[in-house]
Amino acid sequence: MKNEKSPYNIRIGVVPVGEVPEIAPKVVAAHFVGYLNLSTDIFPPLELPGYAFDKRRSQYDAGLIIKSFESMQFDNCDKVIGILDVDLFVPLFTHVFGEARLGGKCALISLFRMEKNPERAAKTALHEFGHLCDLQHCTDKNCLMHFSKGLEELDSIPLCFCRYCSAYLRDAFCRLSL
């Protein structure tokens, strides 16, 4: 999805992993184009990574998948968002809706606990993308970078970044465009 109007030369790769409703990657990609004015590429689905499956927990280790994705090549993409419909976890936590490392290249989001709601997936994707751009959690409850304690709180957050996080994002986009 090429965004001709985007002032930034940044491409976001959206990668379905395993069986994911067809609409989900499209909605996520559309939010990146519509709300952040960025170009996106939707990649063909990848297989579910068996190496990340924890039999004891019946969940997939988000950290392991991210590590593997970081070493993969996604054509011309500056940042990559992986979308899964399985339950994700990181050690110590029962589950995560999404996972990303500050300043990393790849983030993951899980539709598993989102009750098939594509807008929740998009919000989580934008939040994790913020982390990929070095943004930390925000105290503003009306900012996408605010940490949501649950679905209810996630739903209450509007689809926008606060003015400080927006400024920080613009700055990050300039750095990425160079």
């Binding site: 927990r57 950290g63 976890f89 990181v90 050690p91 110590l92 936590f93 029962t94 589950h95 995560v96 990303a100 490392r101 500050l102 982390h131 930390q136 959690h137 105290t139 940490f147 304690k149 649950g150």
Partner: protein, 447 residues
């Protein structure tokens, strides 16, 4: 307003440390990790972490043991215990030992978020408490004189009472007790505070120099008097003259000063015309002037003139409860001045300081803290940092029998003399036979 915390994650599993590290990093906190309790304590010595997330089960030191040590050395550091071996007993034990909270593995992300919110709230309350405590400390501080003991409270009351009068004051007390600070406080609280406060150490100046310094001199009065100069008795006009170590001045100077105090006039050296002077005299001495007066070495009339009101400052060993307060004050002062992050004194070190005799009083304590702060390599001053304090001046912590004291002292002298009985008996001023008898009685043996 976002509250940025410094957090340390203590867990022997790297994957757990990484997972929590990234979570806190995303929340904007300063985060570090340690793979064992020992490493955590090492890092705590160098940096004051706000919160410690410690795993319960670790090889070597477990979470509760680490918690105990942290609470003892760094009580303001909040500890959260993480355990997969969750039982009510473990949780109760952790909370009883001082843990702020505990988390059972695995936990929901929002649980961790709630724990953090609770800790931030607790820290805010603690900070408010510190502020209020600081205000309370203002009450225990009196114009830079620090003390909360009944003796010092009495001194503070006296200062306030005498400040408004013009009566001469004699401040008595051992060296280093803060006599000049008391004199300055009296001056600051008096109606003379807009006029000069002049302090002269009488013991530091030879008689002739003291005379010319106090009375001033006329040009040509003596060799080297190339110009006329006002003495301190004139300079101080309207203010307070503080004569430290007044017991050191000569009988002649005592007569000269007595005349000044009675007539309120001075005559410069080499001059004949008197000049009017007006000041309040505060003197200080570490000697027993009453005794010297009876012995005839200090003039009686001068003694009564300078000693209208006496303020006695007790030595530090008689108000040991002030030692922690003074230690805290000097620690703050020197860790700030030296920009070294030393903000604690261990409980043992505080006891050590309290048991010391402090012959040099507050001044010696201040120097000891400064030296310990400068040389300390950790943020906590320990007993070893005060090893330079002379052990002979240490007070015995517990009351002891004369027999035990004698036994210890003989043992000490023998080891000093490398068990040379002849030399030891000379030092002890007893015969060799007596010393041998004592050695046998106390069953002393060379080690």
């Amino acid at each position: 307003m976002k509250q940025k915390m410094s957090i340390m994650i203590v867990d022997d599993e790297m994957i757990v440390r990484e997972s929590l590290f990234h979570w806190f990093e995303k929340a904007g906190h300063v985060t570090d990790t340690a793979s064992s309790g020992a490493e955590a304590l090492e890092k705590l010595e160098k940096f004051p972490f706000d919160i410690l997330f410690a795993d319960m089960k670790m090889p070597g030191m477990n979470g509760i043991e680490l918690l105990e040590k942290v609470k003892e050395e760094y009580p303001e550091t909040t500890v959260v215990i993480i355990t997969a071996y969750g039982s009510i007993e473990t949780a109760i034990k952790a909370m009883k030992t001082g843990a702020s909270d505990y988390l059972l593995k695995p936990f929901k992300p929002d649980q961790l978020s709630l724990v953090m919110e609770k800790i931030v709230h607790q820290k805010k309350l603690a900070s408010e408490y510190r502020y209020l405590k600081g205000q309370l400390e203002e009450i225990t501080r009196f114009d830079n004189i620090i003390g909360q003991s009944p003796e010092m409270r009495h001194v503070f009351r006296l200062i306030t009472e005498v400040a408004q009068s013009d009566a001469s004051i004699l401040i008595t007390g051992e060296t280093g007790t803060g006599k000049e600070l008391v004199a300055k406080a009296i001056h600051a609280k008096s109606h003379r505070n807009r006029f000069p406060f002049v302090a002269i150490n009488c013991g530091a100046l030879p008689e002739t120099l003291l005379e010319s310094e106090l009375f001033g001199y006329q040009k040509g009065a003596f060799t080297g008097a190339t110009h006329s100069r006002k003495g301190f008795l004139e300079v101080v006009s309207g203010g307070t003259l503080f004569l430290d170590e007044i017991g050191e001045i000569s009988p002649k100077m005592q007569i000269d000063l007595l005349r000044v105090l009675e007539e309120k006039k001075i005559i410069r050296v080499g001059e004949t015309r008197p000049v009017d002077v007006e000041f309040r005299l505060i003197s200080a001495t570490r000697r027993d002037l009453g005794k010297e007066m009876k012995e005839g070495t200090f003039r009686e009339d001068f003694f009564y003139r300078v000693n209208v009101i006496t303020i006695h400052i007790p030595p530090l060993r008689e108000r040991r409860e002030d030692i922690p307060l003074l230690t805290r004050h000097f620690l703050d002062k020197y860790s700030h001045e030296t920009t070294k992050h030393v903000d604690h004194v261990s409980r043992e070190a505080t006891e050590h300081l309290k048991s010391y005799e402090w012959p040099g009083n507050v001044r010696e304590l201040e120097n000891a803290i400064e030296r310990a702060v400068v040389l300390s390599k950790s943020r906590t001053l320990k007993t070893g940092d005060f090893s330079f304090l002379s052990p002979s001046s240490r007070r015995f912590l517990k009351p002891r029998s004369l027999r035990d004291m004698e036994k210890d002292y003989i043992c000490h002298i023998l080891s000093e003399c490398d068990w040379n009985v002849t030399r030891a008996s000379e030092i002890l001023d007893i015969s060799r036979v007596t010393l041998h008898r004592r050695i046998k009685r106390y069953n002393l043996q060379r080690t």
